[in-house]
Symmetry: C2
Subunit: 417 residues, 2 copies
């Protein structure tokens, strides 16, 4: 693998204040002008002035950044990208004001995704999921978390994990698999909740751990799993090596934030209704708050209290929540617009949330999420004069080149005129 | 120019109910499956089944739509894309809650765009504007209106028009130029408003008409031009052949909607504070209501009453309002999301608003805005199983190919994996 030099970097923008940087703030970015970056074996080997690398220039492949901003590749730490079947009809019904119950009666809701995903062949599921990753790459995403949870049976949950493992091997992206067997109680278990929880922990979870799932997640909320059930699932997960994550306090404040601190979760996600006390506990335990504003936009709900959490010192991350139901969107530009316009986060905090803190939510802050010596050379070049255009250019993708492990995996072309 | 056949069209989606279709509604779309489209000399020459065109197949260039939806190219009937200088700093100040006055004191506001646009050389202004058109094309836009108004002096207003004329010739897009000399009162005229209005009508307007401006627009609102001043400007414009358009009732309901009906404007735009009476008069005169929800999103204002207007029978269109200040966004996907999620417009109405009614707002509904025999072959192919994904796929661009006058002007590539 040839050395590479990223030359003519107009702004090298990288977060200083992430979860693991005590004494620094999420708003602390390092912005250096006229920088050159040396990449060796897919890793950042040096950052300096052009003259520092004159020796390497002859042998290295040159990536000319054209005087533009270079940032770490974005990390999307909460998605459900492995599913089959679309729910456009249900989305229309929701726009018409139909209730969740009406939609469910018409065959919508999560049950519809579960049915299609069970039915889909492995190759079809993999093909559909791969296509979605391509769209994410265009938005500058270089690492993607993905959850199971559209199987709710052993075979399909493991099929989803296999899709993720193979896509991690077949594509240049890093795919981080999370086991979410406790996404919903399947209808046939509705009167036997305890049995389903035991099924998940005893029958499916060990296989999920073998299939290289890294995290165990649970939808802990009103109408989903109780705090007690969630505690059982996450505790059993830890025993087989799965680090806890929680869908917490989205619909009602049932105590998900508190539980995330109790079980030492790596992240608690959603948090629209999280209590002050729960957030305080999260802060003390260093649980990353993963906020999902596109879901709130899509469901026309209030946004999570991002400003409050940052002011209280929580490590805040942002993710798309890409899924076929509540949030069929992998749009990083929309995510940035919502965070900066509607959650009172600054563009600098938003960048940290999408890079270093997102990496922390996936236990990878030592490897990715910033452009520093020794970290993976995952970076994006923006077609903009300044990194602030990420928020100023509302809803428009500014990414013109995506570099993963030193290799260019996407470059935006034309049109030619 | 070779004949073309667009084959394997999964859904041919085209509006039936636009401004000029009495008895039809904006929600009326024609959706035909398994269609083939014949294009001759840049115009739709036939629509039918594959077998209808077996004779043409040998000589024609084949454009395989891959079973996907094909729609008319989008028309963006309200933009300010010809400017120099960005206002990202001002956007940050606004996010921090700084007032309009504070921003103006720091050198922001429209005065900043006027200064940069005056200063920019013709070639620089053209280059910057051309780049913005490329971004619009990626969103499926094939016809763009553009306004002057960042000159407010004769030389720069005409420079903006010349940029648009040359870009209309140099690029495949249709560029529709609007003269907006009455965008703002320049500071040096602040005590001599009447003199500025006379300057615009007597000194600049005749040159604008010679430079092929088609429309005359005025920012009729509180803090901008009064109804009386606007009437004078639009009436003088008509005398030199410029059809009236109005920025109406955005900040306050000063009577812009009423004036648009009185002067037979082709459109009244913004309309956040338009009165019921004004809207009623617009309906009677067939004035198109051009709504600009991304501006409201960007300024955190309420949205215009799109649902009410449609229910009252007004022809409603949507536009981006792309400009460097209040709305630095040319994002059609965001526009669609806001219309469908936050303005209670259906996806079908939104499509009509962005095609046939947008064409009507530019007096071109006989040439573009739908896919019909005899109309320009301006169309887009979506990378989606159904046209409803335009709203379901929130904030994400579904356009994978853009055809203008029968020629493919953009095709979305990879990434390859």
């Amino acid at each position: 693998m040839r050395k590479k030099l990223v030359t003519n970097v107009g702004q090298l923008v990288t977060p200083l204040g992430g979860k693991f940087r005590s004494g620094s703030k999420m708003s602390d970015l390092s912005v250096s002008e006229e920088v050159t970056i040396l990449i060796e074996r897919g890793v950042v080997a040096g950052i300096g002035e052009s003259s520092d690398f004159s020796g390497a220039r002859d042998e290295a492949e040159i990536i000319d950044a054209g005087g533009k901003p270079v940032l770490p590749g974005f990390v999307d730490p909460h998605t459900h990208f492995v599913f089959s079947g679309y729910r456009a009809k249900e989305f229309q019904m929701r726009l018409q004001g139909k209730s969740y119950e009406e939609i469910a009666r018409e065959g919508g809701g999560i049950a519809s995704s579960v049915a299609s995903t069970r039915e889909a062949s492995f190759s079809r599921l993999k093909k559909e999921s791969r296509k979605r990753l391509k769209s994410m790459v265009r938005f500058g995403v270089t690492t993607v978390e993905g959850k199971t949870g559209y199987g709710l049976d052993k075979e399909t949950e493991l099929k989803q994990l296999k899709v993720m493992r193979e896509l991690g091997a077949d594509t240049p992206l890093d795919i981080v698999p999370t086991f979410l067997g406790a996404h919903s109680i399947p209808p046939k278990y509705s009167d036997r909740r305890e049995e389903y929880v035991n099924f998940v922990t005893e029958e499916v979870m060990p296989g999920a751990a073998e299939r290289e799932a890294e995290f165990c997640d649970v939808f802990c909320d009103q109408g989903a799993f109780t705090v007690e059930e969630s505690r059982q699932i996450l505790t059993e997960g830890k025993k087989v090596g799965l680090t806890p994550k929680i869908h917490a306090d989205e619909i009602a404040g049932t105590g998900g934030a508190e539980l995330s601190a109790e079980v030492d979760a790596i992240s608690a996600d959603h948090l629209l209704k999280a209590s002050d006390e729960g957030l305080h506990l999260m802060k003390d335990r260093g649980v990353v708050a993963v906020l999902l504003p596109i879901t709130a936009f899509s469901l026309k709900e209030d946004y999570a209290r991002g400003r409050y959490m940052i002011d209280k010192g929580l490590p805040v991350s942002l993710a798309t929540d890409f899924n076929p139901g509540s949030c069929f969107s992998e749009s990083i530009p929309l995510l940035i617009s919502l965070a900066t316009l509607y959650m009172d986060m600054t563009v600098e905090e938003t960048i940290t949330a999408l890079t270093l803190n997102a990496a922390a939510a996936l236990d990878r802050a030592d490897q990715i999420g910033s452009i520093e010596r020794g970290k993976r050379a995952d970076m994006i070049i923006l077609d903009a004069p300044d990194y602030k255009h990420l928020s100023y250019h509302i809803g428009v993708n500014s990414v013109e080149r995506v570099i993963k492990g030193g290799e260019t995996i996407w470059k935006r072309p034309g049109p030619q005129f």
